[in-house]
Symmetry: C2
Subunit: 204 residues, 2 copies
């Protein structure tokens, strides 16, 4: 088994934190440096023709891409501790919050970053800075919903830590390079962030 | 159990086709008319504060939103026929293709539609028409990858029909109002589309 990882990118981090929570170590890891456009090299296109990290190569040669697909593989082969729910309702609620976080937090943060940050001028051609800026108020609007949810529950999908917390932690940290400040008035998010960002897995 | 549905929108259709494939009928369905902005009415905000359809209200009052979360609930309570894989590897491969279709097909088609179609001027304020147009070549580039995959397999995630086919069918049909023509030169997609669009579930 071999993992293709990028230390500096948010999506590969989702997988690293997930694996750390499971206590799974993958000895064979190759770094793909996005700054050097290594994901576009011919050698990596054989792994993922869509030119993105992370990717997981199984021992039978099967290649899995997409962070959540890789996480789902590990959830299936090692269900404990469960990070994607345990019965129909909890699995659906984790999926719901995971997707809300992706669609209304991680995606607009990423679009703001890609379309406004000078470092992305080469990778995101053309940039549309006004469109990028228009994503920022959407992030702030969703954070208010998230703060309400975290006023009712310890973690995002309920009272158990899940993959939705991992995605939200990564998205919150991604707000910094995207230059979207997170208000400290969102007290429930601040409480939650203090908790999840100090779990040992957050360093992964 | 009650389903909040919108006949005219792509995401609720994903759930309807999924249920049709499972042979599940939900007697209690309420239509939310997006054209009349019913999703923004106070009554519906109680169901989904994020103001989107579909939503599923369970008998215990739990509300599930996000199309794939609703599908996952039904996959868990009625596994047959399986539409999300059956073991660790097939579940991960379905998740991978589902997310590739969402990220590289459904999302750019939706962004092109929202930012260029006059009917969306009220819902997507402000529209960025040039950004919308820039999504169209991304769709065409991904369709080439998809055509390669469908040259190797009968269905998108392999030789079994899955939720990834449902999402791709819905995305392909959404290309029409987004005004992105699908080339008939993509012979494998044309073969696949002919097959999945004539399944009885496609009418759901």
């Amino acid at each position: 088994m071999k993992l293709y990882d990028t230390r500096t990118a948010p999506n590969p981090r989702r997988v690293r934190v997930f694996l750390a929570e499971k206590g799974i170590e993958i000895p064979n890891v190759q770094q793909i440096d996005i700054g050097k456009l290594e994901q576009k090299a011919e050698e990596y296109r054989r792994i993922n023709p869509l030119r993105r990290t992370p990717a997981l190569e199984l021992d039978d040669g099967t290649i899995l891409t997409e962070s959540v697909a890789i996480c789902r593989y590990f959830e299936e082969i090692q269900p404990s501790p469960p990070l994607m729910g345990t019965d129909a309702k909890s699995k659906a609620l984790v999926e719901m919050w995971q997707r809300r976080i992706e669609l209304h937090l991680l995606l607009p943060v990423a679009l703001a970053f890609r379309h406004t940050h000078p470092a992305m001028a080469e990778m995101e051609k053309p940039q549309f800075p006004e469109f990028g800026e228009a994503n920022k108020p959407r992030v702030l609007e969703f954070l208010q919903h998230l703060d309400n949810q975290l006023g009712k529950h310890r973690y995002i999908a309920g009272d158990t830590f899940s993959i939705a917390d991992i995605t939200a932690l990564v998205a919150c940290d991604f707000m910094r390079p995207a230059r979207i400040p997170r208000s400290q008035d969102l007290k429930n998010i601040t409480r939650w962030y203090g908790e999840v960002s100090t779990r040992p897995s957050a360093k992964a």
